[in-house]
């Protein structure tokens, strides 16, 4: 079936180029914008006529954006770690144990994800102000968890189901407590699932604009996506597009790093050799 005729190769290359261009043009456009000077920003040319890194130094010249980045990284990481810790234990219990209310938990988890965020954000705003969570890290981590947890539980329980139960029995016979069996045998094998869930949870928290916009007001907890919206030019009359573009590029970098680190760990077939089927 695989015939590597030049014609075939050419067609494939062409197809790949088309897809890449389609996917990357907006990204390149943003990068290009971020490298233009304020005077040429509106010239509509695809490549900047005058190259400058001025926008980037502008972005970091005030503490405003740096603080937002710090908030973003902190909040997204904490939400991810907590959601993974709870989700892995919950998913393990759901796949391995029979207990009353098991289906109710799964259905409940699914139901939570079905609410559009916009429908709860108004209520949260009032509630958070009442109990003092408004404009705090926890105030953002909690709503992020409520969306990341169900997703992680679903992904992880799919992975746990694939792990042969005999391995756990073997660990028990070898003298492991349930916790040791989970931590030293089951969890290492479910790592691809943990990383998959982790990436998705992190991206969801990182990219959120709605909650971050409504539930924050100062540098104490404002995240990067919201900070971008608050950019204005050096003076009242400067177009801030260049700075916003630079900020957008900077915001994508941590996600890129996360994905690059984790995707190497997402190797399938890690359980190969455990049992002969």
């Amino acid at each position: 079936m695989e015939d590597d005729t030049p014609r075939r190769k050419l067609l494939w290359t062409l197809a790949v180029v088309v897809v890449l261009v389609y996917a990357l043009i907006p990204v390149i456009w943003i990068i290009s914008l971020s490298l233009k000077t304020p005077e040429t920003i509106g010239d509509g040319r695809f490549l900047p006529s005058e190259w400058t890194l001025h926008n980037y130094s502008d972005v970091f010249s005030t503490g405003f954006f740096t603080a937002a980045l710090r908030n973003s990284i902190g909040i997204a990481l904490i939400a991810t770690v907590i959601s993974l810790a709870f989700a892995s234990m919950a998913a393990y219990a759901i796949t391995r144990l029979e207990f009353p209310g098991k289906t109710a938990i799964l259905a409940g988890a699914l139901a939570v994800t079905m609410f559009p965020p916009i429908s709860v954000v108004g209520g949260l705003f009032n509630l958070w102000r009442q109990i003092g969570l408004y404009d705090t890290w926890i105030g953002l981590i909690l709503p992020y968890l409520s969306f990341a947890l169900p997703l992680s539980i679903y992904i992880l329980s799919a992975f746990f189901r694939e792990i042969p139960w005999d391995l756990e029995k073997a660990a028990q016979m070898d003298g492991a407590t349930p916790m040791q069996a989970f931590r030293r045998v089951i969890l290492p094998l479910a790592m691809p699932g943990v990383f998959t869930a982790g990436i998705l949870a992190f991206i969801a928290a990182w990219n959120d604009f709605l909650f971050a916009n409504v539930l924050t007001s100062t540098d104490a907890s404002r995240t990067a996506p919201v900070a971008l919206a608050f950019f204005r030019g050096a003076s009242q009359f400067t177009d801030p597009s260049g700075a916003i573009a630079a900020g957008a590029v900077v915001v994508t970098v941590p996600i890129l790093i996360m994905v690059l680190i984790f995707q190497r760990r997402i190797v399938s077939g890690l359980t190969a050799g455990a049992v002969k089927g």
Binding site: K169, Q172, M173, G175
Partner: protein, 395 residues
């Protein structure tokens, strides 16, 4: 090392199904005990209860005299070899074997020494740093054994450890298992559905059917003196031949011939069972080509003529198949045996029931020809057609 006692052990599932019914079994210190039976007979459930992986519904399990019904698997100090091996795929062979010792916080030098020792016994030295995925089936099986050996536990439990190997390797590993067990002298409970493994490996064999223990004894006891139809048919390959029979005044009427019974058989049956419906059981090797039986031996039995349907040359012997004119036997034990054999039964042109005879390699028996066969009457077994219980059982 320890003795294991099952005292009236029952496994009852929430839906009321009893997988193991009132199981009594004494396994002596250092003994190699085999649990054998067709699939679904409760043997694996019994093993899991000894391991602690399944709860015991009723009865008592004692290890070294202590009741362990409520003791967690990790505190029973018992090692188990799983049918699937259940090796930890993310650990090397060395880490797999050392896992239990590390959990016990054994000093590192001792762990290394024990792992190396076990690797020596199992010929795994060169593979210690490899992952299970890169090992062959036989090597994985040995790692699973090694994981049990390094712990020096009170007992080994093995759940069909050889059934995933191909036939040749299985025979080789069977010998290996027997060698290791006798070398270490550790109490071993071994579950299998393969009667050959049961016969060759065990000090004693426990035959189970539908959760009920049928008979416990040494392999030869089970073979020569089965307590019922099921044990008689399950142990031995090719299996025992069964046919309807009736008894009249010391003469057994078999479908192919009337056999005057020798005194030893009559003695074993005790009182005359009357003219009830009986089932006669004859092992294939208790037939012989009449021409190859000397006159002295000949007096122990009866000769008859049979038309052979099929003669299989095995090299050291012939398997001769012939049909007898008898209706197919109806017995629950025999149904179980048939299911275990895959649900098929051999058919013959000259009768509904096929008998297999094991003949001397020098026999001139040929398929399609009538041959004079001899039957050793002293080795006959008789069973009650209704209950399946042996009437010739000398227990």
């Amino acid at each position: 090392m320890a003795d294991i006692v099952l005292d009236g052990v029952v496994k009852r599932y929430p839906d009321g199904f009893e997988a193991v019914k009132d199981l009594d079994l004494d396994i002596a210190d250092g003994e190699f005990m085999i649990l054998v039976g067709p699939s679904g007979c409760g043997k694996s459930t019994a093993l899991n209860m000894i391991a602690g992986l399944e709860d015991i519904s009723a009865g008592e399990l004692r290890i070294e005299g202590k009741v362990v019904n409520q003791v967690a698997p990790r505190d029973r100090d018992i090692a188990m070899v799983f049918q699937s091996y259940a090796l930890y795929p993310h650990m090397t062979v060395r880490e797999n074997m050392a896992f239990a010792l590390k959990l016990k916080k054994t000093p590192k030098e001792e762990v290394d020494r024990k792992v190396n020792e076990a690797a020596e016994i199992l010929d795994l030295n060169e593979h210690l740093e490899r992952k299970p995925a890169n090992l062959s089936g036989g090597q994985r099986q040995r790692v699973a054994m090694g994981r049990a050996i390094v712990r020096d536990p009170k007992a080994f439990l093995m759940d069909e450890p050889l059934s995933n190997l191909d036939a040749k390797l299985r025979v080789q590993m069977r010998a290996e298992v027997a060698r290791i067990q006798s070398r270490l002298g550790t109490t071993t409970v071994y579950v299998t559905h393969d009667q050959t493994e049961a016969m060759t490996l065990g000090d004693r064999v426990a035959v189970m059917l539908s959760g009920v223990l049928q008979q416990v004894g040494s392999p030869m006891e089970l073979y020569n003196n089965p307590t019922n139809l099921f044990v008689a048919g399950f142990i031995g390959s090719p299996g025992m031949n069964f046919m309807p029979a009736s008894l009249d005044d010391g003469v057994a009427h078999l479908p192919m011939v009337d056999v005057p019974l020798p005194q030893n058989v009559l003695d074993r049956m005790g009182r005359e069972p009357g003219k009830r419906n009986l089932i006669a059981g004859i092992r294939p090797e208790d037939f012989e080509d009449a021409a190859k039986v000397d006159s002295q031996t000949r007096s122990r039995g009866t000769t008859f003529s049979a038309k052979l349907d099929l003669v299989e040359a095995m090299g050291a012997e012939y398997y001769a198949h012939f049909g007898i004119d008898a209706a197919r036997l109806q017995s629950s034990d025999l149904m179980e045996l048939r299911d275990d054999a895959g649900g098929v039964e051999e058919k013959s042109e000259s009768g509904d029931t096929v008998v297999v005879a094991r003949l001397n390699a020098e026999s001139n028996a040929q398929s399609g020809k009538p041959t004079e066969l001899w039957l050793d009457a002293t080795k006959l077994h008789f069973f009650d057609a209704g209950s399946g219980q042996s009437l010739t059982y000398a227990g």
